[in-house]
């Protein structure tokens, strides 16, 4: 009897989800029924927003992807019980995941859904799994290997991914270096000219999203001069790839005569770029100074901290942020749950800095960047803060949670993953 009852509930739950996925208004009602945690999961949010922990302690939760039925897939950088992807389901409609499973024998960062496929990356490869209409996997044991043999030399090894929905997948291949010096991060070591890393890394590569076993020869270097991109997303309004670059480190350590601790903590900017095929963001030759609002010649390449780059090859950022905050995810919000100003704007998950020491660290929050006509307005604001759990972060290890991934749920909720404690946050709008 009990079994029959729970089966009925399950069937009811399933049909409710299906109903809500098809009817716009009911998703809004459904989300209003979900109560945020009393303390908003420890987050500070704008008025009208609430948050809950959809899951906790699941491992090093890097990027996340959510199906149109609300099933959450989380990529782990380190295997837990031999598995690298966690699947979470809210079976009773309270907004929290009751059901947890895992699969995939590779650690990594990238995960994305496009059409009926779930894509996920290790630090060298990209795989894909076919999804069933209800958001499960057809065969979690045997994914298709789409891309293989990508460079992983320890540093900036994450392969973040984004798809354009037109059959292409874009993969970040981070530079295995800070500033392309002959000896990495070593004072007095010159910048290599030209930087040989750029042939196989330090950019975004474009591959066929459908073809098996592609490697460098099959893909195309779509954009270059990008030191490391963790956050990237396809903007459907502009039909354009936007990326967030992690700017270079250690200006003071390497050039103490040119940069004091304060200058080193505040330069260079973390930057967003609107890419086109052939875009060049200028790493390692230049960096972007957030105060001067200029591209500055890197000291490894003859710069003195003031010399402005006049090279027309290097693109300006779409918008710049304070230094070293480590933008680990970018998401264009296309939902209807949040107030109108958020629609088609960008959320950026800042993992939080380490390279501002001895000054206090910054970041450890999710920012919102308003867009108009497919371009940032020039302003940005902190959207969700409090992940670190402490007022001032002096040592990075002291931060309790660190935002790493972003995803939009089918009802328009914003999900944030934390790769420190393995928390999945769900942020909802409950105001009017």
């Amino acid at each position: 009897m009990r079994k029959t009852f729970s089966f009925c509930l399950l069937a009811l739950g399933l049909s409710l989800t299906q109903f809500s996925a098809h009817a716009g208004d009911s998703t809004k009602l459904a989300s209003k029924a979900i109560m945020p945690d009393a303390d908003n999961a420890g987050l500070k949010l704008p008025a009208g927003f609430g948050a809950l922990k959809a899951a906790d302690s699941i491992g090093r939760a890097r990027h996340i992807a959510i199906t149109d039925k609300g099933t959450i897939y989380v990529k782990l950088s380190k295997l837990v019980n031999g598995k690298g992807i966690v699947v979470l389901r809210d079976t009773d409609g309270d907004g929290r995941a009751e059901e947890k499973g895992s699969f995939g024998d590779f650690g990594g960062t990238g995960i994305a859904i496009s059409g009926k496929w779930l894509y996920a990356s290790s630090d060298e490869e990209v795989y894909r799994y076919m999804l069933t209409p209800d958001g499960s996997l057809v065969n979690p044991m045997s994914p298709q290997k789409i891309i293989t043999g990508l460079i992983d030399r320890k540093q900036h090894e994450s392969k973040s991914i984004a798809l354009d929905g037109k059959g292409n997948i874009y993969v970040n291949i981070g530079a295995y270096s800070n500033a392309c010096q002959e000896k990495d991060r070593t004072k007095g070591s010159k910048g290599m000219m030209p930087c040989p890393i750029l042939d196989s890394a330090g950019g975004i590569w474009k591959f066929d999203a459908e073809k098996a076993n592609q490697t460098y020869g099959d893909g195309k270097r779509f954009a270059t001069g990008l030191r490391n991109v963790m956050g990237l997303d396809w903007n459907k309004q502009n039909n354009q790839l936007f990326v967030m670059q992690h700017g270079r480190d250690q200006l003071h350590d390497l050039y103490p005569d040119l940069f004091d601790n304060k200058a080193s903590a505040e330069k260079p900017a973390e930057t967003m770029y609107a890419l086109k095929e052939g875009s060049n963001a200028g790493w390692p030759y230049i960096y972007y100074d957030p105060e001067m609002k200029q591209k500055i010649v890197a000291p490894e390449y003859g710069g003195d901290g003031k010399k402005v780059s006049t090279d027309p090859a290097f693109q300006d950022p779409a918008i710049a942020f304070p230094a070293h905050m480590a933008p680990n995810a970018l998401l264009f919000y296309t939902g209807n749950q949040f107030p109108a100003k958020y629609k088609n704007g960008a959320f950026v998950a800042f993992h939080g800095s380490w390279n501002r020491a001895p000054l206090p660290q910054e970041g450890y929050y999710v920012a919102f960047v308003p867009f108009e006509n497919g371009k940032p307005t020039g302003q940005w604001e902190i959207f969700a803060n409090g992940f670190a759990g402490i007022e001032v972060v002096t040592g990075t290890k002291g931060a309790q949670h660190r935002p790493c991934g972003l995803a939009q749920g089918p009802d328009g909720s914003l999900y944030v993953s934390d790769d420190s404690k393995g928390t999945i946050y769900r942020i909802m709008y409950n105001g009017k």
Partner: protein, 139 residues
């Protein structure tokens, strides 16, 4: 009877050990000088709390290599830098560490003594002679 001797030897050893540690207290000037070197060469990556940066820069506080008896290994890391892709106390760290062979033997000794005796760390001092010996072997 044998047990008693063992016990006696054990406590004797313990006594000697305690004596040898207390006989060489680490001077304030060594710690101050080590702290200065730490601030200019190490703090940016290993952080003010010695906690490092998760998955990027290895922690020093509580680290087995920092606290270990193999001081030559520690000295070699400072002199040669570190880019090995190995697990350190169960974790991988992505960033490369630059060599600091331009520091003087005494500076390296002091900074190592400092990191072995700061935060929760407690271990014996490193001497300039020990640094000199390791440096000679590397040449």
């Amino acid at each position: 009877m044998e047990k008693k001797i063992m016990l006696l030897m054990g406590s004797l050893c313990f006594g000697l050990n305690a004596f040898s540690q207390s006989s060489k207290p680490i001077s304030k000037s060594v710690i101050d000088n080590g702290k200065l070197v730490y601030a200019t060469r190490c703090l940016a990556c290993h952080q003010v709390d010695g906690g490092g940066v998760p998955h990027l820069n290895a922690p020093l506080d509580g680290a087995s290599t920092v606290l270990g008896a193999d001081k030559a290994k520690l000295i070699r890391i400072v002199l040669k830098g570190y880019s090995d892709r190995v697990e350190i106390d169960g974790e991988f760290y992505s960033n490369n560490m630059a060599p600091h062979s331009d520091l003087k033997d005494q500076q390296i000794a002091d900074v190592l003594t400092y990191i072995r005796n700061t935060w929760t760390n407690k271990a014996s001092a490193v001497s300039a002679a020990e640094v000199k010996a390791v440096r000679a072997k590397l040449k």
